[in-house]
């Protein structure tokens, strides 16, 4: 249960996003999550960057400076092998969380 907190959820969103898009900068991650969730989820910039740096220190993701399509310098993040494992773990935890929450909601 300990891992099923909100921070874990943000990590899951970021890791999943990176696994789907391959490589993306922070702003791109914000946009992707917004778009992919049909505008339901908004990631706050204030939480995103500390999370990115924390995950990088944990070795889950890896960053590199590169140019965007509009020829701007941006820092791109990419999943590492450890990050892929962490993503599977986080997905499993999330499924359980959803199952658990749903069970409680259905309980009458």
């Amino acid at each position: 249960m300990g891992k099923n907190d909100l921070q874990g959820t943000l990590d899951l969103l970021v890791l999943k996003t990176l696994s789907q898009t391959g490589s993306l900068h922070g702003y791109g991650i914000v946009l992707h999550i917004q778009r992919a969730s049909d505008e339901l989820l908004h990631v706050e910039e204030g939480s995103l960057y500390p999370a990115l740096h924390r995950m990088e220190q944990s070795g889950w993701i890896h960053s590199e400076w590169a140019s965007t399509e509009t020829n701007r310098k941006a820092k791109y993040y990419k999943l590492t092998a450890a990050g892929k494992k962490q993503l599977q773990e986080a997905e499993k935890n999330f499924e359980q969380l959803v199952k658990g929450v749903r069970a409680i909601l259905r309980y009458a």
Binding site: Y27, G46, H62, A74
Partner: protein
């Protein structure tokens, strides 16, 4: 890559921050561009992008915080920052480092003594199983005596259930002929044949003793050099490695060879011991620490001679046997002896078993622990002082800290620079302290009293270094605690609301006062301790040893007993020595004695009055001394009644004695002792009558601190001449005795005589004061440093207070307070703080000084004069420490201090 980045982050923090900046900026720019594309005005678009990040500096701080590598980097940066800070405040830095170095240096130096004497295991196999037996004669108040052969064997047989084995040993001097017709003095040890197996030492060359070597000869050998050369089986000897090298140049052919002694038995050398094999007994046990030759003891059960104490028993406990069980067994042996022998009964014979190391250090342990405690006090005082310095500085930076806290810095980020600075100071202080300790240890070797065992082991080893490191870390933690606690909870509103430059000063005041009170209390205790030692020392100086040590010169002459085979020959030898010594220019008197006062030796006999004839339990014990006629005149010991010995009294068959006033009082009460007779038992098993011809003033023979036991004096002729061994010469005017002249004079008498232990009488008295002087010196140094530190601490607190209350003082003056009032205000605060500290110190000292009662001479641990005197002394320190801040306060210009508001 990641590892590389972590490492590179460490060194390029600025670069990392730039990178975070760039990343966030690129995000904002992309968002702004999208916003514009979505139709916003550029200004609005940028604003929207920025607002999503909230406070940019907080944001940056939080991102940076995420980088684990960066926190390492921060410590590095804090260290740089601290170093810069320390360089910028050289006064503060030097004061803090010196204070810490003193504290750490002093406590480390003392710890080296604790380590060498109390902690380091003895160099024997499994030394914790070794037990020393000592004999106490409780009624006579004599302790730690060795055993007679019969008592030793009884002890060994009576405790077989608890000991693997029980060995015995005693030592003495002997003379060995050199090739050139002169003699060399060596130390021998007589040991039971199992001694080395009990100690766990292996003979490196040749063989160990066997049971065969210890089979008793028909007549029991009296100790040492005086043994007659009649015994049939050879005496078997093992050499110390050092003597084997020195005398025989390490030639293995010495095995099986016969070694001759001057006038003593010849010995067959069978083995060589490992290097540095030592015999560790307390120095006052008169056991030679490094005997040159070890002789197998042909120990026999000599029941008739239970008063010939010589053997020191060393036992090895069986696995599973406890000391308590062994002691119970020994108690039974002692009880049996008390039942069977009246002498043992009246003397209160008992046996005490102690672990060897405990036995070795029993006498010095309290003093060492007291000194260690003082060293730690000093360390704590040093911590308090540095803590206060840091507090004052932290309070000056309180606004900055509050500001940073408001900007989102966590508590740890605020504390960290303080902790880093503390460790930096402690590290430098420790290094300097180690240098001080190193110098201190060298001094300790010179100063340490002779009764400190294993003195040569005092050195800087891994344990001592470890202690210093630990002390350094502990001090850093202790003195950074208070400032860190302050820094972790800055009160933002208060700090920012204040408009003056030093807003936080008021806040830390109570904490600083508490620290200074603790400091005063600790240093006051040290002052009390040193005061008590000082009083003891004065008391010792005032003790009249019963003889005049001034211009007295003493030494031993060995070999008279070995060379002179008959009483006449020995008397002639003694006579010749006396004549030759008297011929030395500047010599006024010559005399000899055995034992000699304050050399640590004593001998005891039993005496009684007429009633003891019918009731042997009425016999009591007294110490005795054998002297030449003229002894009391030469020593300048007052004759109280009767007369002293003449040459005529020194002839064989004269049964005259002289007694001291203590014995006279005990034997005859108020009556005159002169002409009366007492019974003694020494030459014969049966008591004999001797006549008292004089009463002299009591001499301190065993210790200056204690009055000691009664004394009876015999003339040398009473025991067949030649027993006197310690010679004393009184020099005239300002002539100094020349060692070479003494040596030549003695050589002229007989080349085989050996002179040693040359010492002035003053040195004898001095060495009797050694341990008191040592403790006094160390405590006084500690107390002086402590007093100084406490004074500085008090000064620091008061001058900060004056600075912080400048405006208040200005208002007071504006309202009519006079300079004297302001002066009194500040001094009053200093005195109040001191009074609180001293009160706490007095209470603690009353408890703690009781622990040092056996170091004190003629002074009670709660000596009112010392307490009063030290209180006064401390108030003088307090006034001195308050004077400067008070003068500064009184000199404040009210206009200026008010305008500064």
């Amino acid at each position: 890559m990641s590892l590389f980045r972590r490492v590179s982050n460490l060194f390029f923090r600025a670069h990392v921050e730039q990178e975070i900046d760039a990343e966030l900026r690129s995000h904002i720019e992309m968002r702004t561009a999208d916003n514009i594309a979505a139709g916003m005005f550029p200004e609005e678009a940028r604003r929207d992008a920025m607002i999503r990040f909230g406070n940019p500096s907080v944001m940056k701080e939080r991102v940076a915080e995420m980088d684990a590598a960066l926190s390492l980097n921060n410590i590095w940066a804090d260290m740089e920052f601290s170093l810069r800070q320390l360089r910028k405040n050289p006064g503060f830095t030097i004061a803090a480092i010196l204070t810490l170095a003193l504290g750490i240096g002093a406590s480390t130096a003392v710890f080296s003594v604790v380590n060498a004497v109390l902690l380091r295991p003895l160099p024997y196999m499994d030394p914790d199983r070794l037990v020393i037996g000592s004999m106490d004669l409780r009624v006579r108040n004599v302790h730690d005596l060795p055993f007679s052969s019969a008592d030793f064997i009884d002890l060994r047989n009576g405790t077989k259930a608890f000991f693997q084995d029980f060995a015995g040993v005693f030592t003495g001097p002997a003379l060995v002929p050199r090739g050139d017709g002169t003699s060399e003095q060596i130390h021998w040890a007589v040991a039971t044949t199992n001694f080395f197996r009990v100690a766990g030492a292996r003979v490196v060359l040749g063989r160990d003793f066997t049971e065969q070597d210890g089979i008793p000869e028909p007549p029991a050998p009296p100790p040492g050099a005086q043994t007659s050369e009649a015994a049939a089986p050879p005496t078997v000897a093992i050499l110390s490695y050092e003597y084997f090298q020195r005398r025989y140049g390490g030639d293995a052919n010495v095995l099986g060879r016969t070694m001759r002694t001057t006038g003593g038995p010849a010995m067959v050398v069978v083995g060589v011991l490992p290097a540095r094999f030592r015999l560790y007994f307390p120095p006052d046990a008169n056991v030679e620490i490094a005997p040159d030759v070890w002789i197998a003891d042909r120990l026999s059960y000599d029941a008739s001679n239970r008063l010939a104490f010589s053997i020191r028993p060393v036992g090895r406990l069986k696995d599973g046997a406890s000391l308590e069980q062994a002691q119970a067994g020994a108690n039974q042996v002692a009880a049996e002896a008390r039942k069977n022998f009246p002498v043992q009964r009246t003397a209160g014979y008992s046996i005490r078993l102690e672990p060897m190391r405990q036995h070795l250090v029993a006498e010095v342990r309290p003093a060492i622990l007291a000194l260690m405690g003082s060293g730690i006090f000093l360390l704590l005082i040093a911590c308090a002082n540095v803590a206060n310095l840091l507090l004052v500085r932290a309070s000056l930076r309180e606004r900055e800290l509050a500001m940073r806290a408001a900007l989102g810095a966590g508590a740890w980020r605020l504390i960290r620079p303080i902790v880093v600075e503390a460790f930096l100071l402690a590290a430098i202080g420790t290094l300097l302290g180690l240098a001080l300790a190193w110098a201190g240890i060298r001094e300790l070797h010179a100063l340490a009293p002779a009764n400190l065992p294993r003195l040569d082991g005092i050195r800087m080893d891994a344990f001592v270094l470890g202690f210093a490191a630990l002390a350094g870390v502990a001090t850093a933690v202790i003195f950074s605690l208070a400032p860190a606690w302050r820094a972790s909870r800055p009160t933002l509103i208060n700090a920012l609301r204040c408009s003056t430059g030093t807003p936080g000063l008021a806040g830390g005041r109570r904490l600083r006062n508490l620290v200074v009170i603790a400091e005063v209390a600790l240093s006051f205790m040290l002052l009390i301790g040193s005061g008590l030692m000082f009083r003891s020392f004065l008391q010792l100086q005032r003790v009249d040893p019963g003889f005049d040590a001034h211009r007295l010169f003493t030494f031993q002459v060995l070999g008279v007993g070995a060379i002179g085979k008959t009483p006449e020959a020995r008397a002639n030898l003694v006579d010749a020595i006396e004549r030759h010594l008297r011929a030395i220019p500047g010599v006024q008197n010559v005399t000899a004695s055995y034992p000699f006062p304050l050399t640590g030796d004593f001998n005891a006999i039993r005496w009684g009055t007429a009633e003891a004839l019918s009731d042997p339990s009425k016999f009591q014990a007294t110490d005795y001394q054998i002297v030449l006629p003229g002894y009391f005149e030469a020593m300048r010991t007052s004759l109280l009644a009767g007369r002293t010995f003449t040459e005529n009294d020194n002839l064989a068959g004269r049964n005259y004695v002289i007694i001291d006033d203590l014995l006279a009082k005990k034997a005859f009460g108020g009556e005159s002792a002169v002409g009366k007779r007492i019974l003694i038992r020494i030459r014969t098993p049966e008591p004999e009558w001797v006549e008292v011809i004089g009463v002299v003033e009591h001499q301190h023979t065993t210790s200056l601190a204690e009055r000691g036991r009664e004394e009876v004096y015999f003339a040398d002729g009473f025991f067949g001449s030649g027993r006197v061994r310690s010679w004393a010469m009184r020099m005239a005017g300002d002539t100094v005795s020349d060692d070479n002249l003494v040596h030549r004079a003695i050589k002229d008498v007989n080349p085989n005589l050996v002179v040693n232990e040359m010492e002035s009488g003053e040195a004898l008295v001095d060495s009797a004061e050694d341990s008191t002087r040592f403790s006094l010196l160390l405590l006084a140094i500690f107390a002086a440093i402590a007093g100084l530190l406490a004074g500085v601490g008090l000064y620091g607190v008061l001058s900060t207070a004056v600075r912080q209350r400048a405006s208040e003082i200005g208002v007071r003056m504006a309202l009519g307070a006079r300079r004297e009032n302001i002066f009194a205000l500040v001094v009053g605060q200093g005195l109040l703080l001191s009074a609180l500290g001293i009160t706490a110190g007095i209470i603690a000292a009353l408890v703690l000084t009781r622990l040092m009662s056996n170091m004190l001479v003629g002074v009670k641990p709660s000596d009112p004069a010392t307490f009063a005197g030290m209180t006064l002394a401390f108030f003088i320190i307090a006034v001195l420490a308050s004077y400067l801040p008070a003068r500064r306060a009184a000199a404040l210009d009210p206009m200026t201090s008010l305008r500064e508001q």
